[in-house]
């Protein structure tokens, strides 16, 4: 369903290292930083594919490229064999930042995005989603008054408002209490959509993922099921996902 071929992203970063003294303050130099290096994977229809890796390994950069927010330096992205721009309506994205307008109500946020994605019966869709996510009671309140859990649920509703077939979820349970995280997890699990997930919560990854791609320093170094990843740890009799993570991240 989603095919990523030889994806590479190189950033030109203005180095700040030499600016510590005044003499060099006005003279910055650029360094090239490879955030994603020659990454190839595909996501099958209705599977939850998780990108796992340490901080700075390139997970969010890949999602940004997949949704068209960043232009790849090299490589290609196909959705059902076609280019991304033709499938914008098929993709829903939830970043760590909620992309919600705090100064308007939850309803107005959802209505706005529903109209941008040409959802016809948007009021019914909003009602359905909010009932399911248990945020209906707060829908007519300003988002600035929401708790982080409710904000996350509203962000999820925002990503799902146009009923996309593909969903990119960047750490969807970040900052949630165990109960709220469990609610969001069970909701994601039952969505029956093609999902690309990133998370640092290994229980969540193990519970939700059909397959996992492990990224380290921008490179996809392992891909497979949870069990496949555990097999890379040779020095433990029954390794868990944490052991695999540490092993692949080169920390053990």
């Amino acid at each position: 369903m989603v095919e990523v071929k030889n994806l590479t992203k190189i950033f030109n970063i203005k180095s700040n290292v030499k600016k510590r003294n005044l003499r060099n303050f006005f003279f910055s130099h650029s360094i090239k930083f490879t955030a994603v290096n020659d990454v190839t994977f595909n996501i099958r229809k209705n599977e939850i594919f998780t990108l796992l890796g340490p901080n700075g390994s390139g997970k969010t950069t890949i999602i940004k490229m997949l949704c068209g927010l960043l232009e790849p330096t090299e490589g290609e992205i196909f959705i059902e064999g076609g280019c991304l721009s033709r499938h914008k309506n098929d993709v829903g994205v939830m970043f760590r930042t909620s992309m919600l307008y705090n100064r308007v109500t939850g309803y107005e946020n959802l209505r706005y995005f529903a109209r941008l994605y040409e959802v016809n019966d948007f009021d019914q869709r909003i009602e359905e989603l909010c009932d399911f996510l248990n945020i209906s009671a707060w829908l007519n309140e300003y988002v600035e008054h929401y708790s982080s859990g409710m904000r996350t649920k509203l962000a999820l509703a925002r990503a799902l408002i146009h009923d996309p077939r593909i969903l990119y979820l960047d750490e969807p349970t970040l900052g949630l209490d165990p109960n709220a995280a469990s609610e969001v997890r069970s909701y994601i699990k039952n969505l029956n959509k093609t999902i690309l997930l990133t998370s640092h919560c290994l229980d969540e990854v193990e519970e939700l993922s059909s397959r996992i791609g492990f990224l380290n320093k921008g490179e996809l170094i392992a891909i497979g099921t949870t069990e496949d990843l555990k097999k890379v740890v040779k020095d433990k009799p029954s390794p868990n996902l944490f052991d695999a993570f540490m092993h692949l991240a080169g920390k053990k």
């Binding site: 232009e71 914008k88 100064r103 941008l116």
Partner: protein, 264 residues
């Protein structure tokens, strides 16, 4: 369905604006007055000593002259407001929402343009009524003038989108662009006649379609208008309204594609 997207943008902008109503209405009313009052004080102090004409502006006509300039200047500021909007949305971290949605830049221009215009229109209407009371004109001329103002505004929105995209992708150029657009504003002669400017600058004024729009509106209002002589200027304003949004959209797409959002 494109209309749905436009109304969604208009509604969202209005909702955000109306969150703090006093700021919203206060700004829309007082911002044009700031410059207008300043120039009214300067001109009236000169004319109060008995001068009939000063720097190409006749004593009897200076108020409509300034009001027309004031309206054009308000539209100029409103049309260039994309940079502030984008900057705010950038720091609210809501900008990716619209950038990844299936919304073309032209829809963004129209939606944001209508929202800004809705804010300005009540007060611009008041200024037109005041101008009408000071120097009455035919109703058809008011319609004609309104159309020219609208064309001018559409062209300025294209310029605004260019200014705005640099705020997203190359924030460091913001101040330079502020000066560039302030210079274009100065070369549009909103509040003074072209004759007050140094000769070396005049060619720059004459290639500025905003100046021609303002001059044309003044000519219509002051009954100094003849269609054959005004036709080239009218064409330049129409071209400005058509070409500038197209250029704006092309630059917006190209800059975003190359540099994306700076700071995320």
């Amino acid at each position: 369905m494109k209309l749905d997207k436009i109304t969604a943008i208009v509604r969202k902008e209005m909702m955000l604006n109306l969150r703090f109503k006093s700021t919203f209405f206060g700004r829309a009313f007082l911002d044009p007055l700031r410059f207008l009052l300043l120039f009214i004080i300067v001109y009236s102090s000169f004319f109060s000593i008995g001068t009939n004409s000063m720097a190409g502006v006749a004593a009897k006509k200076f108020l409509p002259f300034l009001i027309i300039g004031g309206i054009a200047h308000s539209l100029y500021i409103a049309g260039l407001g994309f940079d502030v909007k984008f900057k705010i949305e950038k720091y609210w971290e809501t900008l990716p929402g619209i950038l990844i949605a299936p919304v073309s830049p032209i829809i963004l221009i129209i939606g944001t343009g209508i929202a800004e215009l809705l804010r300005e229109i009540p007060f611009l209407f008041i200024y037109i009524v005041v101008g009408y009371c000071l120097a009455p004109i035919k109703f058809f001329d008011i319609f004609f003038i309104s159309m020219i103002f609208l064309l001018l505004y559409i062209g300025i929105l294209g310029l605004g989108l260019i200014k705005g995209v640099f705020e997203i992708s190359k924030e460091g150029l913001g101040l330079i662009l502020d000066y560039v657009f302030a210079a274009i504003g100065l070369l549009s002669c909103f509040y003074y006649h072209i004759s007050v400017l140094p000769t070396i600058i005049k060619p720059l004024v004459l290639i500025n379609p905003i100046y021609h729009a303002v001059s044309l509106i003044r000519a219509i209002w002051m009954n100094e208008f003849s269609l054959p002589s005004a036709l080239p200027y009218l064409i330049s304003i129409i071209l400005f309204a058509i070409i500038m949004p197209i250029i704006g959209c092309a630059v917006f797409k190209a800059i975003l594609k190359k540099f994306s959002i700076q700071g995320y």
